[in-house]
C-alpha cells in the first residue's frame, strides 16, 4: 500500500452537554463556505434579469419610498444630515442585515440533501449564505458616494472604522440568522414568524430616523436593539454622522451575546438536523 501516513481516529458518539463553538472544525471547512457563497453569488447574478442592477435598485427604491413619505417631516431627526443621504446609508446597512437573516434562515432547508447525504459542520451553510449580500452592500456603498457628493456630505476620519462597522453588521446578521436557521429546520412555520419579526425590527431600528429620537435614560434601553449601535457606527463611518455615544457599547454587548448564544444553540440543534429535516 502506497499511502502510509498517520491518520487519527475520529469518533461519532451520542453528544452530551455543552456543544461549544467548534471553531477548529469550522476553520477546516472554510473553503466549503467560500464555495457555497460563490455559488449563491454566481447564481444570483446569472439568474436575475437585472443582475448587478438588482443590487442597485433595491436600496434606491426603498430609499425613494422613505424620502417621499418621511422626507418632509420636519422634526424627524437625521443627525443633521440631508435626509436622502441619511436614509440611504441606513438602508444600505439594514438591507444587508435583513436579507442575510432571511437567506441564513433558508440556507439549510432549501437543499435538504446537503444535510441528509453529506457531512460538514452545518454552521457553514448559514455562514456562507450571509456572505453574498456583502457584494450588494459594496454596490450600495458605491452608489452612496456620488449621493454624498451631490449633497456636499463628506466622510470624516471615521471612514477608517468602516470595516469594523461592516463586521458588526455581519455579526448581527449571523447571530440572528443562526437562530432562525436552526428553528427553520425543526419548525416549518418559522418563515412566517421571521417575515413578521424582520418587519417589526425595521421599524424598531433607527433606519428612517436617527437614534437620537430616543433620549435620556431610554437611550440605554433602546440600545438593547443591536441594530441601534450598529447603524450609528455605520453612519458615523460612512456619512459623517456624530460619533456613537457610550450606549453603543450596550448594542455591542447584545450583538456578542446573540452571536455566542446563536452559535451554541445552533450547534446543539445541529445534532438532530439530519433526522428531522
Amino acid at each position: 500500500m502506497s499511502r502510509r501516513r498517520e491518520r487519527g481516529w475520529i469518533e461519532n458518539r451520542p453528544s452530551t452537554g455543552w456543544p461549544g463553538f467548534r471553531l477548529r472544525t469550522l476553520w477546516a471547512y472554510r473553503e466549503l463556505a467560500w464555495f457555497l457563497a460563490e455559488r449563491d453569488l454566481k447564481v444570483r447574478y446569472k439568474q436575475t434579469i437585472f443582475g448587478v442592477g438588482w443590487a442597485v435598485l433595491q436600496p434606491l427604491t426603498a430609499a425613494a419610498i422613505f424620502i417621499v413619505l418621511l422626507g418632509r417631516v420636519d422634526d424627524l431627526p437625521a443627525d443633521g444630515l440631508p435626509y436622502p443621504v441619511f436614509v440611504f446609508a441606513g438602508l444600505t446597512a439594514w438591507l444587508y442585515v435583513s436579507s442575510s437573516v432571511n437567506r441564513a434562515a433558508e440556507s439549510l432547508v432549501t437543499d435538504p440533501s446537503l444535510v441528509t447525504k453529506i457531512y460538514f459542520p452545518r454552521l457553514i451553510a448559514p455562514l456562507a449564505s450571509i456572505l453574498p449580500s456583502l457584494a450588494d452592500l459594496g454596490v450600495s456603498l458605491l452608489i452612496l458616494a456620488p449621493f454624498m457628493a451631490a449633497y456636499g456630505v463628506t466622510p470624516g476620519l471615521a471612514l477608517a472604522t468602516l470595516p469594523a462597522a461592516v463586521v458588526w453588521l455581519v455579526a448581527v446578521a449571523l447571530g440572528t440568522g443562526l437562530v432562525f436557521a436552526a428553528l427553520n429546520v425543526k419548525y416549518r412555520d418559522v418563515r412566517r414568524v421571521l417575515a413578521f419579526a424582520v418587519q417589526i425590527w425595521l421599524f424598531a431600528s433607527p433606519v428612517a430616523f436617527a437614534s437620537s429620537l430616543v433620549s435620556g435614560a431610554w437611550k440605554w434601553v433602546y440600545a438593547l436593539n443591536p441594530m441601534v449601535g450598529a447603524l450609528d457606527t455605520f453612519r458615523w463611518a460612512t456619512v459623517g454622522a456624530p460619533r456613537p455615544g457610550p450606549e453603543a457599547l450596550v448594542s455591542l454587548g447584545v450583538t456578542l451575546i446573540v452571536l455566542f448564544a446563536g452559535t451554541v444553540y445552533f450547534h446543539a440543534a445541529e445534532r438532530r438536523f439530519a433526522d428531522v429535516i
Binding site: I10, N12, R13, E31, L32, F35, T116, Y119
Partner: protein, 408 residues
C-alpha cells in the same frame, strides 16, 4: 487482515416517528408549552440496535438487507451525518460519503463550476480539485461541454459528471449507497472498475446495494442487516445466498393445496402469486409491476351461479382488494360444469410494499363453498428504490401528481 479502519461498538439509532414527519410547527410547540401537554407524538423505533462491526483497512464490505433494515442509517453514522443514539463509531482517517451523487449541483452553473462546487461539498480542497480536474473531466468524457450550464446537460451527462467527481475523492474510507445503479452499461462498467481501484489503493469501502451481484463482485465480506440488527456476517457469496434463501422461505408464492380436502363440490388445487412484468427471470413480486393472483380448483359437480373472489389482506388486516367474477361481469358459463378451473386476476402496480395474505372465496348466491386464506407473501420495492417508506400507514400508492408553488 489489516489493522482496523472502522470500529462500530454497540451502535443503536432511535428515530421518533411523530406522525411520519420529523418536524413540528412552532405553533404546535408553543401551544403544548402553554397548555402543559406534550403534543408530540412519542412513537419511536430503533433503526439500528446494538450493532458491533469491525472493518479492516483495505477491506470492502457489502451491506445487504431489506428496505428499512438500517443499512443507510449505518452508513450515515459512519459518515458522521447523524449521530448514534447509543454506542460509538470510530473511523480512522477521512471518510468520503457517496450516499448520493451530484449533491449541491446547480443547473445554472457550468460543468466546470459544478465540479469545483461538488468536490468541495464532498470534502475536497480547492487545490485537490484543481489537481484532479483533468482526470475528472476525462473520466466523465465531457471535455467539450465544460463551459455549458448544467441545465443544458442531459440527465445522463450530469450523472456521469457527478460520479466522476465522487470517484476522484481521495478518502481513506469510502461509503457508497447504491450509486452504481445509475448510468448506461458502459459507464457502470467503468464505475465498477473505479471501485476495484479503490480497493487496490488500500481504501476501506462500505457498500450498500440491492444488487447482490455487484456486492459479491466488489466485496469479499458482507453483513446482513435485518430490522436493525446484524443477522449475518461472512463471505459475501455465502451470505447473499443465505439472504436470497430467506425470501424463498417466507414467500411460498405457489402453494399446492391438493392434500387439503374441503366440503362441497370444490376442491382447491393450487394458488399462486407472480409478477406480471416482462422480466424473463422468475423473481419475487415487486410493487412496481402488476401482480397476478391465481387459484386453481376442481369443480366436482355442476354449480349454478358459481362465483369466485380473490382478496388481499395487508399486514394491518385491511382488505385492500376483493374482486370477483361477478363484479367484472365476466362470469364464464363454461365454469358452471364440472372440471378444473384456473382463475386469475391481474392487479395493477398500485400496492405498497408490505406483507399480504391472499384469500379466496368460492360459492353461489345460496351457499359458500370456500372462504379461506391461501398464502402469504411480501411485496418488495424496486431494488433501486431506496426511498420507500414502509412506516407510512397507507394502503395503496396511487399515481398522483404534485403541483408545488412556493411563496417567498
Amino acid at each position: 487482515m489489516g489493522s482496523p479502519s472502522v470500529e462500530i461498538i454497540g451502535v443503536g439509532k432511535r428515530y421518533s416517528l411523530s406522525g411520519g414527519r420529523g418536524y413540528t410547527t412552532l405553533r404546535e410547540a408553543l401551544s403544548s408549552v402553554v397548555s402543559g401537554r406534550n403534543g408530540r407524538d412519542q412513537r419511536e423505533f430503533w433503526a439500528l440496535r446494538n450493532v458491533d462491526l469491525v472493518i479492516s483497512e483495505g477491506e470492502a464490505l457489502g451491506i445487504i438487507g431489506r428496505n428499512g433494515a438500517g443499512k443507510t442509517t449505518l452508513l450515515k453514522i459512519v459518515s458522521h451525518i447523524t449521530e448514534p443514539t447509543a454506542g460509538v463509531a470510530r473511523m480512522r482517517g477521512r471518510v468520503g460519503s457517496l450516499l448520493e451523487v451530484g449533491t449541491g449541483f446547480h443547473p445554472e452553473l457550468t460543468g466546470a463550476e459544478n465540479i469545483y462546487l461538488n468536490g468541495a461539498i464532498l470534502g475536497m480542497s480547492r487545490r485537490e480539485i484543481h489537481r484532479r480536474f483533468d482526470e475528472i473531466v476525462e473520466f466523465a468524457g465531457l471535455e467539450r461541454f465544460l463551459d455549458l450550464p448544467l441545465k443544458r446537460y442531459s440527465s445522463g451527462m450530469a450523472l456521469r459528471l457527478a460520479f466522476s467527481v465522487a470517484a476522484h475523492l481521495k478518502a481513506d474510507i469510502v461509503v457508497v449507497d447504491e450509486v452504481l445503479a445509475v448510468g448506461d452499461a458502459e459507464f457502470q462498467q467503468r464505475c465498477l472498475g473505479k471501485f476495484d481501484d479503490f480497493r487496490a489503493e488500500g481504501r476501506t469501502v462500505l457498500f450498500v446495494s440491492h444488487d447482490l451481484g455487484a456486492v459479491t463482485r466488489l466485496c469479499a465480506r458482507a453483513v446482513w442487516l435485518d430490522e436493525g440488527v446484524i443477522r449475518g456476517d461472512g463471505p459475501a457469496a455465502d451470505l447473499t445466498t443465505e439472504y436470497l434463501r430467506s425470501f424463498a422461505d417466507e414467500g411460498r408464492l405457489v402453494v399446492s393445496l391438493e392434500e387439503e380436502p374441503l366440503g362441497g363440490p370444490v376442491k382447491l388445487v393450487r394458488a399462486s402469486v407472480s409478477a406480471a412484468g416482462d422480466e424473463p427471470v422468475p423473481h419475487t413480486p415487486r410493487r412496481d409491476e402488476p401482480l397476478v393472483l391465481s387459484v386453481e380448483f376442481d369443480l366436482t359437480s355442476r354449480a349454478r351461479d358459481l362465483d369466485v373472489a380473490l382478496y388481499l389482506v395487508n399486514s394491518r388486516g385491511v382488505r385492500v382488494i376483493d374482486e370477483s367474477w361477478n363484479d367484472a361481469g365476466q362470469r364464464p358459463v363454461v365454469a358452471q360444469s364440472p372440471g378444473r378451473i384456473a382463475a386469475s386476476v391481474t392487479v395493477p402496480a398500485l400496492l405498497t410494499s408490505d406483507d399480504y395474505t391472499l384469500g379466496v372465496w368460492i360459492g353461489t348466491s345460496a351457499e359458500v363453498y370456500v372462504d379461506r386464506e391461501l398464502l402469504q407473501f411480501r411485496l418488495l420495492p424496486h431494488p433501486t428504490d431506496t426511498h420507500e417508506e414502509t412506516t407510512r400507514p397507507r394502503v395503496v400508492r396511487l399515481p398522483v401528481s404534485w403541483t408545488i408553488e412556493t411563496e417567498r
